[in-house]
Symmetry: C2
Subunit: 294 residues, 2 copies
């Protein structure tokens, strides 16, 4: 199977799993259910679940032990996008080629749908823990919780929001990106290894892989925001400029940023080379993400 077909196949499997677990009807609260479904099923790349599943495969994990965590991370990622797009935050109108959640459901329901998805991710993980109460699963849930919180993703968002229009230094920009996008990406990979009972050495290698990948991913995002096609991106390009954000592009220029992303991609792939054929998909994915158009 060529890589893009394989990726699509994996994305569809994630979508099917999500479709199965997210409620679809309700007597009194249909509106929030629809709003949550709208964003969760809007056709994202499913990068985080696919990374988690792909890492678990290295250790021959059962898919059913990975999915609850993979999908919990995707719910957290989706809630963060809904809240990020709100008028009081980035005030964005389009996401994944569709009007943002609050443009369709209003600010109040969008806010609550975000809250609902964050909470549902934990409901889902805890239901799994109630069935299969092993230390590695608790550890995986803990990993996700830490990465999603103020010392992870939320912390990155705070720095992002507070520094719009300000010149920030390299350290602060790195803190921002390592947390805003990096933390959940790293948690995805680490969870796959933790659930797969990887050794400490395995987990450390994969953590370094994920950190390089996460940073490369963010730099490519910054580049696409400048040179990308709005239609392919599914959102307006040039948003960083509009919101006066400091990015890898504003700090280093396009060419240097590209070079940085290429080097990080190479480093990432080197880190998982020792896993051989079992890491083939992850390696191909890492290369693919460097050359993506959206």
């Amino acid at each position: 199977m060529d890589f893009e077909k394989e990726l699509l196949y994996r994305q569809n499997k994630v979508n099917d799993y999500i479709e199965n677990i997210i409620p679809s009807e309700s007597e009194y609260i249909q509106n929030i259910i629809s709003s949550m479904r709208y964003s969760l099923l809007a056709g994202g790349k499913r990068l985080r679940p696919i990374l988690l599943m792909g890492t678990g495969e290295i250790f021959n994990c059962n898919e059913e032990d990975l999915y609850p965590f993979a999908v919990a991370i995707e719910m957290i990622h989706t809630y963060s996008l809904i809240h990020d797009d709100l008028p009081s935050m980035d005030n964005d109108d389009f996401r994944r080629g569709k009007p943002t959640n609050h443009k369709v459901y209003g600010d109040a329901i969008a806010l609550l749908a975000g809250d609902g998805l964050l909470n549902l991710s934990y409901e889902h993980m805890l239901s799994f823990l109630a069935l299969k109460n092993e230390a590695r699963f608790v550890k995986a849930a803990q990993e996700i919780a830490r990465a999603a919180g103020i010392n992870g993703m939320i912390g990155g968002q705070v720095v992002d929001i507070e520094n719009e229009g300000k010149d920030i230094d390299k350290d602060l920009m790195e803190y921002m990106h390592n947390n805003k996008t990096g933390a959940l990406i790293t948690a995805s990979v680490r969870c796959g290894a933790i659930i797969g009972k990887g050794t400490n050495e395995d987990i450390e290698k994969l953590t370094r892989y994920a950190k390089s990948l996460g940073l490369a991913f963010q730099i490519v995002d910054d580049i696409l925001d400048v040179i990308g096609d709005s239609e392919k991106l599914g959102k307006e390009s040039g948003r960083d400029l509009k919101n006066k954000k400091t990015t890898y592009v504003t700090m280093y220029g396009i060419e240097k940023a590209k070079e940085k992303a290429e080097n990080l991609t190479k480093n990432a792939i080197d880190e998982i080379d020792s896993f051989g054929e079992k890491a083939r998909f992850l390696k191909e994915l890492t290369l693919y993400l460097l050359d993506r158009e959206y």
Copy 2:
């Protein structure tokens, strides 16, 4: 010790525990830390943690097994207040006698502080599970997650927000209150019993107790919103009228509503009578809540 002193003593213990676990300083994200602390340490009644601890006492639980869950519930309650007060929701300026979170920290940080508190509640419970991984603790965390989610508190908020200014029937109003305030109150009590290894019969009794108490609490809230003193309430009274909300008072009138709250309080106390002296504090608390002024 008279009851009010005992209540204060218990509130202070909860406050001390919260103070110990909530971060206080950070290099990059001081603002959200301050914002979370502002609302979490604003001097609430601590009703939910105190209910959880009080129920656990019936079963001679260790305090250290109860606190992580008691405080997680308080964090969830606090995040819900911060989000509820936002301009896109109830747009309130005062809470607990102080300006609301977004009035001090701005809408973006208030939104993220709410997200941060919700997430922190799970970080905290999962850290505890990682240390003491017993089925009863997983079950307690699951109970809290369910009560906080779309089939609990968030569902109630959705119905509340969507029906401002509309006439709603008794069923929908009951759904709203049972979920918006009732779910977390019931979860608090149930968690105490679950952690305390109560029998199914114990848990059922205490669930009925909590449901009656939760409804009585809400009705008293509705009454205080009409006849209460804004200064004592720490927030503007008359908000329900202003926001055109259907409440027990608009549906039944003050006198009937009072009678209802009294009957529910009596029912609640009857349910836990069989626990004898061990439930003394809970009984006194239940009576106290009927006659409160804020």
